[in-house]
């Protein structure tokens, strides 16, 4: 019996105007957004490769470039906005990346205020979740209003079978249309010459698709619950749209806004004072050594001391910068905790993690820069004072940033996946209970 209901429901959905309009729209946006973002990725990759190729190997000031993430085509996250260049010298351990022109962010945000970016994650988070609501709001309420629910249940059909059949059919249509849009987007990516997907990327894309499916399932189950509880489909739709506006537009933004405005961060002046205080006891010695160094004292001992003191200052300043970075992470964590029950915020966090376009990836890259500075780069500088001929022969050490493994990304995103799965289960359980107890007259 479930099979019959399942088939009939699927046919009803596929024939409906709302499905055809919604699916056509989402497909069109998926195609347009992926084409635009793939071309943009191609341009950024070209710049990165040219930067690597044209790079002058300067042993004193080493330029490190961050490649664009291939999956930023689907989930832009922070990939485009936080810079791509770190300039490493013994006077400074970079705490932020800059653009190629040394500006603190790429020029694009200057052009448009108050607007964001359109990518596949946006399509799922905003448009598909709306489509799900439109496909599911009348699942039970419509049958109840038209009186067919009573007639259907007058047959030898358990209520649970009816609900499961309807839910399975609705989910098949929703997830099927989503899978079709996702497949088209990935195909567009794959045919672009700039995009080269590895096995790990494929695993991440599949994870992205699975997380998106789970997110849409949460909205489907929520819609099913409201459709079961509310008597009239028009009211069910209104309730769901209010919930959607709250969960997708208002709640996640309020969380960030609260964290932004009610989380104390040290001021620029306090940071500067801390840096001065951290190195204050070595200041006089550095002046003395520096004066001797530039005054012609080329002895190894003075040179080494000069380098040690400069290096120490860089490390101490870096400690202050790291403290701010940790505070900023704490601020972000607070925003995330406030928005813990927003499926949209959870979804965003998961897909950005899978796509390696989240702030954690940015921090990992900066940690690699710091590691490079403390090991390979400083070893080379020491050689300058200890063994100049060897320094001249030595090549600039290559920078290495190990990619995060897919399993690590899965582990990191597991809590959010669990919360999303729990939300879906709770909504389905509540819908089932409400339907079993429902007065179908």
């Amino acid at each position: 019996m479930i099979g019959v209901i399942y088939k009939r429901e699927i046919l009803d959905h596929l024939k409906s105007a709302k499905f055809l309009i919604g699916f056509g729209l989402t497909l069109a946006i998926a195609v347009a957004a992926t084409i635009i973002n793939t071309q943009d990725y191609g341009r950024r990759l070209q710049d990165y490769r040219a930067a690597q190729r044209d790079l002058e190997r300067n042993k004193f000031e080493v330029q490190i470039f961050r490649p664009p993430e291939v999956l930023s085509v689907l989930v832009q996250g922070k990939d485009r906005s936080l810079g791509n260049t770190a300039s490493v010298n013994y006077l400074n351990i970079p705490d932020r990346l800059t653009g190629y022109m040394s500006e603190q962010s790429t020029p694009r945000p200057k052009s448009l205020s108050g607007f964001g970016s359109v990518d596949f994650a946006f399509l799922v988070r905003v448009i598909f979740s709306l489509l799900v609501i439109f496909l599911a709001y009348d699942t039970v309420a419509e049958e109840k209003q038209s009186g067919t629910l009573m007639l259907v249940l007058a047959n030898a059909l358990p209520r649970s079978s009816l609900l499961v059949g309807k839910a399975a059919a609705g989910l098949t249509v929703v997830l099927g249309s989503f899978a079709a849009a996702a497949a088209v987007a990935v195909l567009i990516m794959m045919v672009h010459p700039a995009v080269d997907l590895s096995g790990a990327d494929a695993a991440r894309i599949l994870s992205l698709v699975a997380a998106s499916a789970l997110y849409l399932t949460v909205f489907y189950m929520l819609s099913l619950l409201v459709s079961t509880v509310v008597k009239r489909p028009a009211i069910a739709l209104m309730v769901l749209l209010q919930l959607w506006i709250f969960l997708v537009v208002v709640y996640p933004n309020l969380g960030v806004s609260i964290a932004e405005n009610f989380y104390k961060l040290p001021t620029n002046r306090e940071m500067a004072e801390k840096k001065v205080a951290a190195f204050a006891s070595y200041g006089d010695e550095l002046k003395k050594v520096q004066a001797a160094h530039f005054g012609g004292d080329r002895s190894t001992s003075n040179g080494m001391r000069y380098l040690e003191l400069q290096s120490l200052r860089s490390r101490l300043w870096n400690d202050v910068d790291r403290e701010l970075s940790l505070r900023l992470s704490g601020q972000l964590e607070r925003a995330r905790w406030i928005s813990i029950l927003s499926p949209a915020a959870l979804f965003n966090r998961v897909v950005e993690r899978y796509a390696r376009t989240d702030i954690e990836e940015y921090d990992r890259f900066l940690a690699s820069v710091e590691r490079y500075w403390k090991t390979k780069y400083m070893d080379l500088q020491v050689l300058f004072y200890k063994d100049l001929p060897a320094y001249r022969k030595a090549a600039t050490p290559p920078f290495d940033h190990p990619a995060e493994g897919t399993s690590e990304a899965w582990a990191a995103a597991a809590p959010q996946i669990v919360v999303l799965a729990l939300l879906a289960l709770i909504f389905f359980a509540a819908a089932s209970t409400a339907f079993l107890r429902k007065d179908v007259r």
């Binding site: 309009i21 052009s111 448009l112 448009i127 960030v256 620029n268 972000l332 702030i359």
Partner: protein
């Protein structure tokens, strides 16, 4: 007609949409008041401290930017712009601290009035208006209403007026709450000037929401089923509020043919090499040939070579910045297809923020830079252009080492009581309205087109 309007307003007020909109309005406008009052207090304290510490200096200056107390109306990206600049002679500026500092947070739109109206209220106007015609048709009441002596034009006009009036109630409540909170925290901003800006912005908001009201009536008249009408309206809302403005930036990058920032960076390296270091390197052969015979002549030639090189690099940087500004203008022009972008840019002009304000500030900086240069020239007798690169090397003149280095601006030790100060022109409402004229006209044009279509379709609609 009045009867229909009042009945419609009563129906709307009893609806779930209205209650939730009122709730959102209260919460969001209260948050707006609290957030922007705190931000302005913090920025103003930092500005006052910087202004108090301002010390006249002919070598370089730190210039703090005056915070705008009415950003709560439309932030316009101003909170992401630098608050202070480091300035040297010949128009050298660099932002002294990167912003935003809290870069780890997700990028979200600021909770200003323009965001609340642009996003939340427009969505609710759609939710209030989608069933205006087709809902009555579905219930069969449309035929009954029109069987009375009520003209179709009057009927639709009443529906339109009721939708707008209903949306304006929570908007007015929200605005009063926001202004109340701001007035308590920052009483100095409650002026007649602010009142006129608030009224202008509200009028703009009405024009903007009116577009969505007409759009809702149009779609509701065309389609028979209200759920389908709502789906189509939400699709249109996504198109206008999200897709067009959000893709215009990236499209402008494609069409504007501006060098990528990597290509620009790549051009500057060889330019410095060719224009500056090559000229400095050419000094020794000229000394050997006997063209430069004295230490003073060598140093003067080094200064000249360095300055000429810098001039070319400065010109390149200025051209690059101009082309970026043109690209940003193209992005804004592309986005203007959408009434949402028209509203956003007009709101920024009325609030004295956004692109026009930024350009005005840059003009102020350039004007101040010219005043500063003239002052330094008067006091020191010469003007030395500096940048963030410098050189120091030695050349040989008759077997003797002569040290040459990049010229440095000199400090003036005398009386500097007449030192010029940066004066930022106030963003006047008249100027804002002038800048916003095109956007407001566009918004009104959209209204006229939508109103015409809505009435034309409804007058010909089959009401059975």
């Amino acid at each position: 007609m009045r009867t229909i309007v009042f009945r419609e307003i009563k129906d709307h007020i009893q609806s779930l949409q209205f209650v939730v909109l009122l709730l959102f309005s209260v919460v969001l406008f209260a948050a707006n008041g609290i957030v922007f009052a705190r931000k302005f207090q913090a920025e103003n304290a930092a500005y006052s401290a910087a202004a108090a510490q301002f010390a006249p200096n002919t070598q370089h200056l730190f210039l703090a930017r005056q915070p705008n107390p009415i950003l709560f109306l439309a932030e316009g990206g101003d909170l992401g712009r630098p608050t202070s600049y480091y300035m040297m002679a010949k128009g050298y500026f660099s932002a002294s601290a990167p912003r935003p500092r809290d870069y780890k947070l997700p990028d979200i739109p600021k909770l200003d009035w323009s965001f609340i109206v642009k996003t939340i209220f427009s969505l609710y106007v759609v939710l209030l208006g989608y069933a205006a015609v087709c809902g009555e048709k579905e219930q069969g009441t449309l035929r009954l209403v029109l069987s009375n002596p009520v003209g179709r034009v009057r009927f639709l006009a009443a529906k339109y007026a009721a939708i707008l009036a209903t949306a304006l109630i929570p908007l007015a409540v929200g605005c009063i709450i926001s202004l109340g909170i701001l007035g308590v925290s920052l009483p100095q901003i409650l002026t007649w000037g602010l009142a006129s800006r608030v009224l202008a912005l509200l009028a703009l908001g009405v024009a903007y929401l009116s577009f969505f009201a007409f759009l809702s009536l149009l779609v509701s008249s065309v389609l028979r089923r209200s759920s389908l009408a709502l789906l189509c309206l939400l699709a249109a809302w996504v198109l206008f509020a999200v897709l067009i403005p959000d893709t215009s930036g990236i499209l402008a990058e494609k069409f504007a043919k501006v060098q990528s920032d990597y290509d620009a960076a790549k051009s500057i390296g060889p330019m410095i090499e060719k224009e500056v270091w090559a000229k400095i390197g050419a000094l020794q052969p000229r000394i050997d040939k006997g063209e430069l015979k004295t230490e003073e002549a060598i140093k003067a030639e080094a200064d000249k070579a360095f300055e000429e090189g810098q001039e070319k690099v400065r010109f390149f940087e200025k051209s690059y910045e101009d082309s970026l500004a043109q690209r940003a203008a193209l992005a804004r022009s592309l986005a203007r297809i959408s009434p949402v972008a028209l509203f956003q840019y007009a709101a920024e002009d009325l609030a004295g923020s956004g692109a026009h304000r930024e350009e005005a500030f840059r003009e102020d900086l350039r004007a101040y830079s010219r005043q500063f240069d003239a002052y330094v020239l008067k006091k020191n007798g010469k003007l030395v252009g500096q940048s963030n690169w410098s050189f120091s090397t030695t050349v040989k003149l008759a077997g003797k080492d002569v040290e040459i280095r990049s010229p440095r601006a000199e400090p003036y030790r005398g009386d500097m009581s007449d030192f010029p100060r940066l004066v930022e022109r106030a963003a006047l409402l008249g100027g804002g309205l002038k800048n916003a004229f095109g956007d407001i006209s566009g918004l009104l044009l959209w209204n006229i087109v939508m109103a015409f279509l809505a009435f034309a379709v409804f007058l010909r609609a089959d009401v059975r």
